[in-house]
């Protein structure tokens, strides 16, 4: 029986804390990242080997994009953006491992026997994505406050430009800010959860016909590779939207201009200009 629960299923109850299968997925992701960090920091060399290059590539690639787009303060938020990218990427891809979502115990729900998996990808739980979106939200508020000051931030957020517009503009501003958190969290959750449902459906359909059409066995592989791409894109979108919010929240006058542009020599007088129609016609 095909069954994908929209909310994470509880596995254990420890006092007031309910331990769900998506928490197992989040812990697994964290442990994998910590182990990889420990292993590669211990064996890191200045001239990277093949495996080290493979691990360093996504980090360097993301950091380079943050550097190119992040303005003058890119160093202050690059670790956060890169961490979010790697963490969400791994949390999404955990769901594609064999056994995740398919190994569990059976229980009766409304008279039907359903499988409760031991591990569920963390991003397929709204609590996880909402938590991550709140981290991103408070990070951009925090950086905005740090660069501009608390009073400037509060004034900008709660007091409109002509002061008499404040009762009208403040609720609008608050709704707009709330939509930012909800959009970040729902997008990631929706995409990953939809992927889980799609994979479960494909597996269910192909298992039903695999004895008649043996090639159907390969159909889920197509969707697995699609989920690889979707997981990557969603991690990228989450991380770079966090960056975009932070960049837009920082004071505008300190924005980034390439250093080489400042070092350019003053323009020399040229012999011809197409921008001046009078000269062109002369």
């Amino acid at each position: 029986m095909l069954h994908v629960e929209i909310q994470a299923e509880p596995l254990l109850q420890i006092g007031p804390l309910t331990f769900t299968n998506s928490m197992v997925g989040a812990l697994l992701t964290t442990v994998l990242l910590l182990l990889a960090a420990w292993f590669f920091l211990r064996r890191a060399s200045l001239v990277p080997g093949r495996v080290q290059s493979l691990v360093e590539f996504p980090i360097e690639w993301t950091a380079q994009i943050v550097k190119d787009n992040g303005g003058t303060h890119w160093r202050s938020f690059a670790p956060l953006v890169v961490t979010i990218f790697i963490f969400v990427l791994l949390a999404n891809w955990i769901g594609l491992l064999p056994g995740v979502g398919t190994i569990g115990y059976h229980e009766m729900v409304n008279g039907e026997e359903v499988l409760v998996p031991f591990v569920r990808p963390a991003s397929a739980d709204l609590n996880f994505t909402l938590g991550l979106a709140l981290v991103s939200f408070f990070a951009f508020i925090g950086l905005g406050v740090r660069k501009g000051g608390v009073m400037t931030y509060l004034k900008h957020t709660f007091i409109a430009e002509p002061a008499y517009m404040t009762p009208l503009m403040t609720p609008i501003h608050i709704i707009s800010e709330l939509s930012r958190v909800i959009s970040l969290s729902f997008r990631l959750f929706g995409n990953v959860f939809a992927g889980e449902v799609l994979l479960a459906t494909m597996l269910f359909l192909t298992t039903a016909v695999v004895f008649v059409l043996p090639l159907a066995f390969f159909v889920p592989a197509v969707f697995l590779s699609l989920e690889l791409v979707f997981g990557f894109v969603q991690a990228l979108v989450f991380a770079f939207l966090t960056m975009a919010y932070i960049v837009l929240a920082l004071p505008e006058h300190e924005e980034h201009v390439q250093p080489e542009a400042e070092a350019e020599p003053p323009p020399t007088h040229s012999t011809h200009s197409t921008a001046d129609p009078a000269r062109g016609a002369a």
Binding site: N69, S179, I182, A244, A261, H272
Partner: protein
């Protein structure tokens, strides 16, 4: 424009032809119409912001509506605050577009 000795002394059409040729071959053309604009960094990934704006438009309306409904249920004044919330939600949706566009253009 940097001119070669061969270019000098020809008519305006020749100048334009030469310039087109130079631009086609990616030879740097100097202009005397003010200092060159400083080369800015690659802008923030706008595709991501555009992707986000589409979702935030709808969400702002839904949030306004739900907040209005919650206030109405609390005070028992339905549908007054539901309608006010809806109006604020729609306004917030447009404000979101303006805010993102304004900040992006100021960068």
């Amino acid at each position: 424009m940097t001119m070669t000795p061969d270019d000098r002394g020809h008519g305006d059409e020749d100048h334009r032809d030469t310039e087109d040729w130079n631009q086609g071959n990616q030879i740097q053309v100097e202009r005397d119409d003010g200092p060159p604009a400083p080369r800015r960094a690659i802008p923030t990934p706008n595709w991501g912001l555009a992707f986000d704006l589409g979702l935030r438009l709808g969400l702002a309306i839904i949030i306004g509506l739900l907040l209005g409904l919650a206030v109405d249920n609390w005070l028992g004044t339905r549908p007054t605050f539901t309608l006010i919330g809806l109006v604020f939600g729609v306004a917030a949706a447009f404000y979101t577009i303006w805010d993102v566009a304004n900040k992006s253009m100021n960068r």
